[in-house]
C-alpha cells in the first residue's frame, strides 16, 4: 500500500510520516501541487492521498480536482483552514483539521486502506 503526503510544511510532513509509521504503508512526499500531480502521473498510483489545501502555486482545491479526474485514490484532506474544510466533507473521503487527534486519523486511514485493499482484490 502506498500513501502520498501532499503538504508544504516540512514539520507537518514529518509528523504525518510519524503517524504513517504506525501503519504498514509505504509513504511518498510532495511539498506542492505540481510535484503531487507529477508523482501521481509518473510513478505507481497511491492508494491514499493526504492533501493539504493551502499549497504554493497550485492550490489544494485544484490539486483535488485534478487527482479526482485521473485517479481512484482515496483522498483525505488535512488542513488548518477550518473555513474551507466544511465544503470538502461531502467531496473527500475524510477531512481532518489541524490539530487533529492522531489516533482518530490512524483509525480513519486504516479503514480507508482496508476497503481500498478489498476493492483492489475484487477487481
Amino acid at each position: 500500500m502506498k500513501v502520498l503526503i501532499v503538504e508544504d510544511d516540512a514539520d507537518m510532513r514529518r509528523l504525518l510520516k510519524i503517524v504513517m509509521a504506525g501503519l504498514d504503508v509505504e509513504t511518498e512526499e510532495a511539498p506542492d501541487g505540481e510535484s503531487a500531480i507529477h508523482s501521481i502521473e509518473t510513478s505507481e498510483e497511491p492508494d491514499l492521498i493526504l492533501l493539504d489545501l493551502h499549497l504554493p502555486h497550485i492550490s489544494g482545491e485544484e490539486v483535488f480536482e485534478a487527482i479526482r479526474k485521473h485517479s481512484k485514490s482515496a483522498i483525505v484532506i488535512v488542513t488548518a483552514d477550518i473555513l474551507a474544510a466544511p465544503e470538502f466533507v461531502s467531496k473527500a473521503d475524510g477531512v481532518f483539521t489541524k490539530p487533529f487527534k492522531t489516533n482518530e486519523l490512524i483509525v480513519k486511514l486504516t479503514s480507508l486502506l482496508s476497503t481500498h485493499r478489498n476493492e483492489a482484490k475484487e477487481e
Binding site: D9, M12, H54, D81, K98
Partner: protein
C-alpha cells in the same frame, strides 16, 4: 398669493427690500383694481359712451382712474427692476398719494382739519412701504401742504398737526418693533441654517407623506440622486448608496416630521472588514505551527511522559482554543459563520462534554454533573459541534469562576410549557456577576472579573461567541446571577425532533 408670485419679484438677496417690494406689489395691485372698478362703474349705467365722456361730473373720475391705472402699471413695472434703488418706487407712490389727497378736497378743508382722516393714507403707506422713520419726512411734507393752504398763520390747525404727528409716532413705533422681531427671527433662522449647512452629518426631514422637505448639503452630497427615492424606513439603519455605506438614525420630531441623521460610515466598515480579514488570515497562519507544536508534544508525552512536554501540550492547546475563538469571532462579525443541521443525540452530546471538562473540574475539586432529562427526545436536529462549543464555553467559564469544592450542574431538558424549544442550563456556585456588569458580559473581550488583577485567563470571547451561536440557531442565552452565590446560564433553542 399665486398671482403675486407670478409677477416675479426679482430675488435681490436683501430680505428687507424683497419684503417691501412684495408689499408694494400688493398695494399697487389693489389700487389698480380700485381704479379699474371706478372707471368701469362710470360706464356701468348703460349711458352712451360719448355722453358719459362729456359729463362734467364723470370727467374727474374717468381722468383720475386712468391716471391711477397708468401710475400703478408703471410702478408695478419699476418695482420689478433691481437696478431701481430700493425705496424709490415707495417714495413715488407716497408722493402720488399725497398729491391725490391734496387735490381731492377743497384746500381750506385740508387746512382746518376737516379732512384730517385723508392724511392718514400717505402716512400709513409710508410706514409700510418705506423704512418706518420716513413717516416723519412725510409728516413734514403734509405739514408744509397744510401750512401752504392755510390763509394765514393763525388759521393753521395745530390740533390736526398734533393728531397726525401722534399717529405717525405710534405707526413708527409699531413698525419698528415688528421689523426688529422679523430681523431677529430671520437671524435665528439663518444661524440655524448655517449650523445645518456646516455639520458633516446629513440631515433629512420628511413630512407625513414621506416627501423630503429639507436636506442639508451633507445629505445631498451623500445621497445624491437617491434622495428622491428616500423614504422613512425606521428599522433600516444601514444602506449602501453609490458605493458608500451610510448609517441612518431616525427620530420623529413633533411639528417637523421624520428627521434622519445620515452618516457616512464607509471608512469604518472598511476598517472592520479589513480587521476581520486579518483576523482570519492570522488565525489560519497560527493554527498550522500550533498544530505542529501540539501534536509533537502529544507524541512526546506519550513516548517519554515528561512533565515539560505535558506543559507544552497544555499551553499549545490553550493557544489553539484562543485562535479558534478569534476565528469564530471574526466569522460572526463578518456574518460568515454557518450552522449545519444534522441528527444528534443529546445524551451523547452530554457524554462528550462530560469527557472534555471533567478533568478540569476534578483539578479544582469541583463537583461536576451533566444530566439529560427523560422528557427530551432521544434524537434532535441541530449543529451538535456548535452546541458542544456553547456548552464547553459556558461550563469552562463556570469552572473558571467557581472556587475549590464548588458545584457545576448542567441540565439538558425540555423548556417547561413551551413545546417549540428545549434548553440547556449551566448553573454554578461561583463568585457570581455584579448586576451592573450583567448587561455587557456577552460583549466580546469583556468579563465580569477585574481585568487589572488578571486572576482568570482567557480573551473574554467565550460568552460572546456562545450567545452569537445560540442566536444564529434561532435561540438565545439568558443569565441570572447573585454575587457570592453563583450564576445560572440558560440556553433556549428551537426544538427539532429527528424522526
Amino acid at each position: 398669493m399665486k398671482k403675486i408670485r407670478s409677477l416675479k419679484i426679482p430675488n435681490t438677496f436683501d430680505s428687507d427690500d424683497l419684503r417691501m417690494r412684495k408689499i408694494l406689489n400688493i398695494i399697487l395691485l389693489s389700487l389698480a383694481v380700485i381704479s379699474f372698478v371706478a372707471l368701469a362703474s362710470a360706464f356701468m349705467y348703460g349711458d352712451p359712451v360719448l355722453e358719459v365722456l362729456s359729463d362734467k361730473d364723470a370727467q374727474p373720475i374717468i381722468g383720475g382712474s386712468i391716471v391711477m391705472l397708468v401710475v400703478c402699471g408703471v410702478l408695478i413695472g419699476l418695482n420689478r427692476f433691481t437696478r431701481i434703488q430700493k425705496g424709490v418706487v415707495g417714495w413715488i407712490l407716497v408722493i402720488v398719494m399725497t398729491t391725490v389727497v391734496t387735490f381731492s378736497d377743497h384746500p381750506s378743508e385740508l387746512a382746518d382739519g376737516r379732512s384730517l382722516i385723508f392724511w392718514f393714507l400717505p402716512i400709513l403707506l409710508s410706514v409700510v412701504v418705506l423704512p418706518p422713520a420716513s413717516v416723519f419726512i412725510v409728516d413734514i411734507i403734509v405739514f408744509a401742504i397744510i401750512a401752504a393752504f392755510s390763509e394765514s398763520s393763525k388759521q393753521v390747525n395745530i390740533f390736526a398737526m398734533f393728531v397726525i404727528a401722534g399717529a405717525s409716532l405710534l405707526a413708527w413705533l409699531g413698525m419698528s418693533i415688528a421689523n426688529r422681531a422679523l430681523r431677529d427671527a430671520r437671524n435665528e433662522a439663518e444661524k440655524n441654517r448655517a449650523i445645518l449647512n456646516g455639520v458633516t452629518d446629513g440631515v433629512v426631514v420628511l413630512n407625513a407623506n414621506d416627501q423630503v422637505v429639507l436636506a442639508n448639503p451633507a445629505a445631498l452630497n451623500m445621497l445624491g440622486s437617491a434622495i428622491a427615492r428616500f423614504a422613512s424606513t425606521a428599522d433600516d439603519d444601514r444602506k449602501e448608496v453609490g458605493g458608500r455605506v451610510l448609517s441612518f438614525s431616525w427620530s420623529d420630531v413633533k411639528g417637523v416630521g421624520n428627521v434622519a441623521i445620515v452618516r457616512d460610515i464607509s471608512r469604518q466598515v472598511e476598517v472592520e472588514r479589513a480587521k476581520d480579514a486579518i483576523l482570519g488570515v492570522v488565525s489560519h497562519e497560527m493554527r498550522t505551527p500550533l498544530a505542529v507544536i501540539l501534536m509533537f508534544s502529544e507524541f512526546l508525552t506519550r513516548t517519554s511522559s515528561s512533565t515539560e512536554a505535558e506543559r507544552i501540550h497544555a499551553n499549545a492547546q490553550r493557544m489553539i482554543t484562543l485562535v479558534d475563538d478569534l476565528l469564530d469571532h471574526a466569522q460572526i462579525q463578518a456574518g460568515t459563520l454557518k450552522m449545519s443541521k444534522a441528527k444528534f443525540s443529546p445524551s451523547s452530546l452530554a457524554d462528550t462534554v462530560r469527557d472534555l471538562l471533567s478533568t478540569r473540574a476534578d483539578e479544582k475539586n469541583i463537583s461536576f454533573n451533566v444530566t439529560v432529562s427523560d422528557v427530551l427526545p432521544q434524537n434532535l436536529i441541530g449543529d451538535s459541534d456548535r452546541l458542544q462549543q456553547i456548552l464547553v464555553n459556558l461550563i469552562g467559564n463556570a469552572i473558571k469562576f467557581t472556587d475549590q469544592g464548588g458545584l457545576v450542574d448542567v441540565l439538558l431538558s425540555s423548556n417547561g410549557g413551551d413545546a417549540s424549544t428545549w434548553k440547556m442550563v449551566v448553573s454554578d456556585t461561583g463568585i457570581g456577576i455584579p448586576p451592573e456588569r450583567l448587561p455587557d458580559i456577552f460583549e466580546p473581550f469583556r468579563r465580569a472579573s477585574d481585568y487589572a488583577t488578571r486572576t482568570h485567563q482567557g480573551a473574554g470571547l467565550g460568552l460572546s461567541i456562545a450567545k452569537k451561536i445560540a442566536r444564529l440557531m434561532g435561540g438565545d442565552i439568558q443569565v441570572t446571577s447573585t454575587v457570592g452565590q453563583g450564576s445560572v446560564f440558560t440556553v433556549t433553542l428551537p426544538l427539532e425532533i429527528a424522526e
